[in-house]
């Protein structure tokens, strides 16, 4: 969008104090505009809130990651030696709860979305800045409740809280964890609401719907799912809490209650919730692939519509989690067939990213390395999803490590990889510093190798019948389990590296220019880091997204020859 009214020429702006005498001092931006705890904790600036989310979510990754390390350590040997069964149940539950509700779901929307949605559409802030701050504090409250639940002994139901175990039999802090999930749900509802209204009402002049970056489409579709799904899980876990506290019998078979109804209501949200996790990642992918192929995205419109299609179709497939739960066979077939449909828009996206890279000017920076890793891992995760959506096959591998491997390929291989790619891509914009490029590439490579080593053996284990959620297993499965644990160690190292060199770069990294990648998009036309109100003048958009010059480098060279 180079033809937008350029907000900053090279000359210093007249409305700011001249900085000639202090050339080293960066100009005023959202980070240095004021200092002190209060200016952060009470800030309604979407960028500061994004940074607070980033710090909080990084902390939660460490918490959830340490649980994962404990699980893999236990599984290094066939005997249950490190953890006893009860502790193991609690650890995998807390790993799931922390990772799903406090990292995967809020990860990209709350951090990158908060930071970028207003900037990418040319707005000064989200539509409701105070509600944005409120959503952060509700998120903190949810975390606090979860950590209290952990401190008081933890939960052992699995992150899915299946009844009647959770409502009647479990002797752990289910009610507290349910309240924590309920509270956290409000946080994501408020973020989603904010994004929807912002995209509808705050777009800069000329920023039509079909000029929106695909990242915005992804955030919008995600927000729709959040608005329509999250309240249902809220009322569902509230019912579980009431059942536990007052024994009202809603999911208790002794009173005629149906535990399968819980599963219907739970998955009505929680299946679309996997699209809450992956759609923003797909949005990040579209930005990375275009920026580092220097090409327009292949099939912009179909990319936008497939985003919406995933969001909508995602609401019709939840029953594929209930194939062995006593759901009717007819319903199972229906859900199985519709599950096949949701693969279509996802596949379109993968094809289009690859087509975008094809004959593009591919630049293998760290974010692009993460993007390519995403392509591979998400494809494996998505294809095994089709296996699992097929009812017959699912009955064979239901509740085995095949399922565990599948959703880790989609969630970790997809969402987390895109999250790290996005963080690296926009790091210069967020903090005005470059991260060490080679360290970045190394960590991307370690993550890719470590990830496959961790989770590919689990496909085989699951196919051979190793059930999930047990802390011991027959000895013949030890080799694959040791491979998986070794991979997890490597993977953990890969994730730790950025957590060290990114903060390091805040002080020692090279100062970043406005547009270190030569990328298109409104966010690359403003300062790094941006000023508090992002734009000095409302930008006027005259071009579609990703308006890179026609023809790739190779074509241009060919023309010269």
């Amino acid at each position: 969008m180079s033809s937008t009214v350029a907000p900053h020429a090279a000359a210093p702006r007249p409305d700011l104090p001249a900085t000639d005498g202090h050339a080293v001092e960066p100009r005023e931006n959202y980070l240095n505009v004021d200092y002190g705890w209060k200016s952060w904790l009470l800030s309604t600036d979407h960028k500061r809130i994004a940074v607070m989310y980033l710090i909080t979510i990084m902390f939660m990754i460490l918490v959830g990651g340490s649980f994962a390390i404990l699980l893999r350590l236990e599984l290094a040997t066939p005997a249950g030696d490190l953890l006893q069964s009860e502790t193991y149940n609690k650890i995998f539950t807390m790993h799931g709860v922390v990772m799903v509700f406090f990292f995967l779901i809020p990860g990209i929307p709350a951090v990158l979305g908060n930071f970028l949605v207003p900037i990418m559409i040319g707005a000064k802030d989200l539509a409701f800045p105070k509600i944005n701050l409120l959503s952060y504090y509700i998120f903190l409250a949810g975390i606090t409740l979860t950590l209290i639940a952990v401190a008081m002994g933890g939960v052992d139901t699995g992150w899915t809280f299946y009844t009647p175990y959770s409502s009647t039999y479990a002797n752990s802090q289910v009610a507290l964890a349910a309240i924590a999930v309920f509270v956290t749900g409000f946080s994501s509802i408020l973020t989603g609401l904010n994004f929807i209204v912002t995209v509808h009402k705050m777009r800069a002049p000329g920023m039509t719907w079909f000029r929106l970056p695909l990242f915005i489409w992804a955030q919008y579709a995600t927000s729709l799912i959040i608005m329509l799904g999250t309240p249902v899980i809220a009322i569902t876990v509230a019912l579980v809490g009431l059942e536990r506290l007052f024994h009202i019998g809603i999911f208790d078979p002794t009173y005629g209650g149906d535990p399968v109804l819980f599963q219907h209501m739970f998955w009505f949200y929680s299946h679309p919730a996997v699209y809450i996790m992956i759609l923003p990642a797909m949005g990040v992918m579209s930005e990375l692939v275009t920026a580092f192929s220097k090409k327009r995205v292949f099939g912009y419109h179909i990319m936008a519509f497939s985003t919406l299609a995933i969001a909508v179709i995602g609401f019709f497939v939840w029953g594929h989690h209930l194939f062995v739960s006593g759901q009717s066979t007819y319903a199972g077939v229906m859900f199985s067939v519709i599950t096949m449909l949701v693969a279509v828009p996802s596949a379109i996206k993968v094809f289009n990213w690859v087509s975008t890279m094809y004959r593009g000017d591919v630049w293998l920076t760290t974010p692009m390395c993460f993007a390519i890793a995403f392509l591979g891992l998400f494809t494996v995760g998505g294809l095994t999803g089709i296996f699992l959506g097929a009812m017959g096959f699912d009955i064979h591998v239901h509740d085995t490590y095949f399922v565990v491997a599948h959703f880790h390929y989609v969630m970790v291989g997809g969402m987390v990889t895109a999250f790290f790619g996005g963080i690296h891509f926009w790091w210069p914009k967020m903090f005005g510093r470059m991260y060490p490029e080679n360290m970045g590439r190394i960590s991307a490579a370690i993550i890719f190798i470590g990830f496959n080593l961790t989770f590919f053996p689990q496909f085989i284990l699951g196919y051979m019948g190793m059930p999930r959620r047990y802390h011991f297993y027959p000895e013949e499965w030890q080799v694959l389990n040791v491979l998986s644990t070794a991979g997890a160690t490597l993977l953990g190292t890969g994730y730790l590296l950025p957590m060290i060199y990114l903060p390091w770069s805040l002080k020692f990294g090279k100062v970043a220019s406005k547009n270190p990648w030569g990328a298109k998009g409104l966010e690359w036309q403003i300062d790094s880091p941006p000023t508090t109100f992002n734009f000095d003048k409302v930008p006027i958009v005259t071009e579609e997204a990703y308006a890179y010059p026609e023809g790739s480098r190779h074509q241009r060279e060919a023309e010269v020859v």
């Binding site: 329509l228 399968v260 019709f316 062995v324 739960s325 759901q327 009717s328 007819y330 319903a331 229906m334």
Partner: protein, 101 residues
């Protein structure tokens, strides 16, 4: 409707809406006392939907607002139907086959 020139409905209209809602309440009570067989519940729901629509259109001003607001207002109810329909397709078909999925 814009922030500067809000559409202000006459008081008479509001009173009319109120009267309609009260009449609807009595009608729904009367319907409940009659034996319409399986139609009792659909009739009660029909009256409730009409009453709710009147509230949405007039008390909540949707009638004078942008199409987008109408879409939003409708979306919630449509999604509710998805939840009901796809949950019930399980419960209604459990006895179709002598085996359970």
């Amino acid at each position: 409707m814009s922030g500067n020139q809000p559409h202000i409905a006459p008081i008479k209209l509001y009173l009319g809406v109120f009267a309609t809602l009260i009449a609807g309440t009595w009608l729904t009570y009367w319907v409940a006392l009659q034996d319409f067989g399986w139609l009792n519940t659909p009739l009660a729901l029909l009256i409730a939907v009409v009453k709710a629509t009147v509230v949405v259109l007039y008390f909540m001003h949707v009638r004078w607002q942008s199409k987008m607001t109408m879409v939003f207002a409708a979306a919630g109810f449509v999604w509710l139907l998805i939840l009901f329909a796809f949950t019930l397709q399980d419960y209604f078909t459990r006895s179709w086959l002598p085996i359970y999925g």
